[in-house]
Symmetry: C2
Subunit: 485 residues, 2 copies
């Protein structure tokens, strides 16, 4: 089959006339490819010689040849001494005739807890955001640039998959001083914040169908990770002593808890509960994931020691993060593994993680070693203590509706329990006033039977704004029809 | 029960005497906690009043009180008007008596392909490493610092979970020009390199027990992700036209392929194979994961267009990465989703990703927008083309043992097939000479029936070193007993 020359040259010349900034070679390549894919050029039809085509189209023979050669490499054309022919391709339903099939995600993703939007730093009272405007950015910029200048291209390759050893050493020393955790560098794995820590624990220690216990209410990120991995998530109630062991539920493989400062209700898990939980985990061969997300900020007494430090053989993986103590977009957190587990994890870690972000990790190591971290923590503790008190004062004077303040003596938020209020409706309205508290009911596995209330983050909001914001929230609560609570 | 004063004060005084740099409050807290946990202080036994204790130990009453208060908060002590008593805690097996239970990881992790160590940038011929010493680090440092200075603390909070919109826009424009992919910003999700892209596809589109097809031999990272998620991994043979469809295997949910430059054998998937694969995926409602890890580096003809761009309704997720084009420790890659899939993913993305690394993402956006990326790509294409030719020359002159060179006309590596050689033994010995090629057999699902050979990465090694390195490898091959090949 030969192709009528006029037809062939017609559409190629057309394409060349409209080529804009593209090279002639590229235009010819695309025009021929499109003609083959749409059937305008039939399979096994023969093209004229490249010299003839080049002359007819007024392009150089090199250009013509390069376009044909590229199409031959990719299998659209077959070239031999006998000439160039169009390849036989599977017949294609024209795109317009293919009904666009609906796209279904994996079914387990339909139940994920709704994640809060956190990409607007200017909103008041957003939970989980630290005072980023107090972060010593000039110091950080200097350390980052020094690391890049001094280490140069050495830092650009893959690093240790468990994270930079120097950062892990600095973290180990800090944990010994501040959290009562004594571990060595081999037990520490750097993660992309706590969320990746939960994911790694899930991958390493459980399989689809296993049971994971979570505090109810509790951190939505952990629930999302467990559900995404196909685990069965069971909520465990929380009271003044923290997570309350419930031996009647199906035995768990993973137990997720925030014992130092329960999120969002603020309880400190009692020593007796901790020991009972450790014993239970040992009997069931379950693993406790201890989320220590904000315990550096405790405003009365000392920081509460970690469960991991309580017993040598504790089946506990400790998760820490710099998202709250430094800044969230840093995305650096860490896991501390018991040494037996660290030994088992070491051979597979390179299959799961790639290291990386080495300049940021080294800059952070220097930031800790030079004392900037401890100084920043001390300054933020003072700031947040004042902010928490100011928020309590504002609630006492401006929140007229019946409410109850929870949230403990630390951290970056207070939780206000509001009976008979639809918290989700309130937070939707509050955003119009640039106020973005969290809805307590959404932190329960079943919002329909949950307590309602507001999570008020004071980390990112100046105390001077609290009275106005609380007045606004109070008005919205008074004006909103009562929900099922 | 009262505690004998001498015993109590004895061990507390001892602890105070040895306190070193710790505060008295902390020492008292730890000593009392340890005494309670070990049973030295019995449950329900009563402590002397804090005033008496403070006097007996020569500390301030505030100090004494703070230590007792902390223990009460954590549930070790009960304080009331009647005095301070030791709480009733679950009886503890003494740590030394607990036999340390062996730790078992999830069973599916036992089959993960071995990951190569890549943390030594100085080793010659390491696969997958670009020429990091050619990266324009001064430009990068300037852009990063400018972004941090100009945007300030705004960049420190959480960002868009799909990545910085400005970077996604810059990538969309680059893809349209260089890869024939026309997409908008909402279809692009920034990932931690390709590995996270594979993981997200797995989480979004499959569940445990599903079948995933991988090229055999192929990229170990994808296999690790699939196995970790509990998928059944099926190898599909590769020939000169790339992945060869094998309709007799169990129907897949995911199909992982590198059509532009098959890893590690270098084939370009033919147009007819591509179209057949697209049709097959449509019929089976499977998803193709197109790994485009190094197609920017093609040294004859134009880069091969992506499968995603071939058809509007293609069931293809495209994965790109800057690990090879810029530097690996950057850990920035991206997915391009078909628009129907992007619509379905949008509501759950905030549950799976947190955004972050915002300064690095914005610096990269500027790097692309200001033309540094295109310039660097052009320079690296010239460099790698020369290096590939020099490596081919060195193989021709220095590799005396029978061998066959594969690897195509692009990328950062050549694969040398060696019949009757134990490649894994060779790479173990080569490391002693600071040479770190990859073992071809380890890229097969079953190394026992695999071809053997060496993956020679030329990205990170100067051409002047090739003759010596190939001579060394040739000697090692000649000296090593033949393995099962």
């Amino acid at each position: 089959v030969n192709i009528p020359d006029e037809a062939l040259y017609g559409f190629l010349q057309n394409a060349l006339d409209e080529r804009g900034a593209q090279t002639r070679q590229r235009v010819l390549y695309h025009a021929l490819q499109a003609a083959i894919l749409t059937g305008k050029l039939q399979p096994q039809s023969r093209l004229p010689g490249s010299r003839l085509m080049a002359e007819a189209l007024g392009v150089s023979r090199n250009t013509m040849n390069a376009a044909l050669e590229q199409l031959a490499i990719e299998g659209y054309l077959t070239r031999s001494r006998q000439g160039t022919t169009v390849a036989i391709l599977p017949s294609l339903p024209a795109t317009s005739n293919v009904s666009c099939q609906p796209v279904a995600l994996a079914s387990r993703l339909r139940q994920l807890p709704s994640a809060s939007r956190r990409d607007s730093p200017a909103l008041q009272l957003t939970p989980g955001l630290p005072a980023t405007n107090y972060f010593p950015l000039p110091v950080w910029r200097r350390l980052l640039d020094t690391v890049l200048r001094r280490e140069g291209s050495l830092l650009l390759g893959y690093g240790d998959p468990a994270g930079e050893p120097r950062l892990r050493g600095a973290i180990a020393r800090h944990l010994a001083l501040s959290r009562g955790i004594h571990c060595d560098v081999s037990q520490i794995v750097i993660t992309e914040g706590s969320l990746e820590g939960v994911r790694l624990c899930t991958q390493l220690l459980s399989q689809a169908g296993d049971v994971a216990w979570v505090e109810d209410p509790g951190y939505p990120g952990a629930k999302s990770v467990f559900m995404t991995a196909g685990l069965q998530v069971t909520g465990v109630p929380v009271d003044e002593e923290g997570l309350s062991l419930n031996m009647t539920s199906a035995a768990p493989t993973l137990i997720f808890t925030s014992p130092s400062h329960q999120y969002p209700l603020g309880a400190v898990m009692s020593a007796s509960r901790r020991l009972a939980l450790l014993d239970y985990a040992r009997q069931q061969r379950a693993w406790i994931i201890e989320d220590d997300y904000d315990s550096e900020f405790r405003y009365s007494g000392e920081p509460v020691p970690a469960m991991l430090g309580m017993r040598d053989s504790a089946r506990v993986v400790y998760l820490g993060t710099f998202s709250k103590t430094l800044f969230p977009s840093l995305r650096i957190g860490f896991m501390v593994l018991p040494s037996a587990l660290a030994g088992a994890v070491n051979p597979v870690i390179a299959s799961l993680l790639r290291g990386g972000h080495r300049p940021e990790q080294l800059a952070l190591a220097h930031f800790i070693e030079e004392g900037h971290y401890a100084r920043h923590l001390a300054a933020m503790r003072r700031l947040y203590r004042k902010r928490q008190q100011a928020l309590r004062d504002a609630l006492a004077s401006e929140m007229r509706v019946a409410h109850q303040v929870r949230g403990g003596k630390g951290g970056l938020h207070l939780t206000v329990i509001l009976k008979g209020v639809n918290d989700y409706a309130i937070i939707g309205q509050a955003r119009r006033y640039q106020i973005a508290p969290g809805a307590l009911s959404r932190l329960y596995l079943d919002p329909a039977t949950a307590q309602h209330g507001l999570i008020l983050g004071y980390g990112n909001t100046s105390a001077s704004l609290y009275p106005g914001a609380i007045r606004t929230l109070n008005r919205l609560i008074e004006q909103t029809p009562r929900g099922q609570a």
